[in-house]
Symmetry: C2
Subunit: 206 residues, 2 copies
């Protein structure tokens, strides 16, 4: 932050969910003069979303920048990540230094498996809630929430919920109204109440 710019580093892996990443990145992009979005993956080779498209990361784990804000998306690729001890050890050590660690969808299962949610409240995708909440220890899982803010850990519900959390995060970083301005620019109708969650009931969680 030597230049006064905040950074969000998004952790990519094969099988990540497209909108978990690019929904928040769209909104963050409206503040790109004071918020840099960058992408990290295991190597510099392109990483494939579960929907098939290939993204070129900016950093590899080996040349990971000092983290400011971290975002871990979900997607079916998370199932492999939570069994990858070397990845989890790297994520725990690297993420521990971040000002804020966030996740979208089943990304919270990865954070939990890495031990980064111990002692925190957190939520996750409502269809994969049983799986996500089976990871880690000492996490107070919240079944009905669009997103949960607990000190330096913010976790959202599934996929599109990441955009609502991203707008709230913009307010947190840059002041009230910043998230709404980003949403208006994207013609997006926001949900600004973190307790709004019809998908919990739809999936038998409330």
């Amino acid at each position: 932050m030597a230049d006064g710019i905040r950074t969000i580093t998004i952790v990519l892996f094969d099988g990540f969910e497209l909108l978990d990443v690019f929904g928040p990145a769209e909104l963050f992009g409206s503040e790109r003069e004071r918020l840099r979005v960058q992408y990290i993956a295991e190597t510099h080779e392109p990483v494939h979303a579960i929907q098939g498209v290939a993204i070129v990361p900016d950093f590899s784990y080996a040349d990971a920048p000092t983290p400011d804000i971290v975002l871990v998306p979900g997607g079916m690729g998370t199932r492999k990540l939570v069994a990858d001890a070397a990845f989890l050890a790297w994520l725990k050590a690297w993420g521990a230094d971040a000002a804020l660690v966030t996740s979208v969808c089943t990304g919270s299962g990865v954070l939990a498996a890495a031990g980064l949610l111990e002692g925190y409240r957190a939520t996750s995708n409502k269809r994969s809630f049983a799986w996500a909440s089976s990871n880690g220890i000492g996490v107070e899982w919240v079944p009905a929430a669009r997103w949960v803010e607990d000190r330096d850990r913010w976790t959202s519900s599934g996929v599109a919920a990441g955009m609502d959390m991203a707008a709230a995060l913009l307010d947190h970083l840059f002041g009230p109204g910043t998230g709404q301005a980003a949403a208006d620019s994207a013609e997006l109708e926001l949900h600004t109440d973190p307790a709004w969650d019809p998908f919990a009931a739809q999936n038998g969680l409330a």
Copy 2:
């Protein structure tokens, strides 16, 4: 379509808007056993969104596949495209063979400039409506609409509106309820009425 699978080819260019592409691609992805999403750009080199991330295209203009459904996104990169006579001639010739030509946001300005909207009704991003509608001739521009379906041309309003149009397109391709199922899976609250458009009034267009 020899294998019975429909394809959507998304036209990428430097300066495209992230969510114009990956919002629809997220929803299309829930039907990936019968709907293939692929990406085309001028060359096989990575293409950069206006928000900075690099995407690797599947095809170049030179090896463009036979189009089934085409989607042209918006973004500041469109300003350069509408002045690129070689690109417009390629898009017009290639898109003319498509079963359906669609756009998100200012992508409709590109379609209009290429002559692909002549004799059609269309909409566009509400903040950039004056610019988008200054392109092409013979287009009946609709200022207040989330999206407009006119025979084989579907155009959406800005950015997030592309997801609502994508859900409607899934219904059109695969039957009622398909779009809602994709949205439920993504925990996305859909707007299913193409006339819903608070952003028209917000931007002085209604």
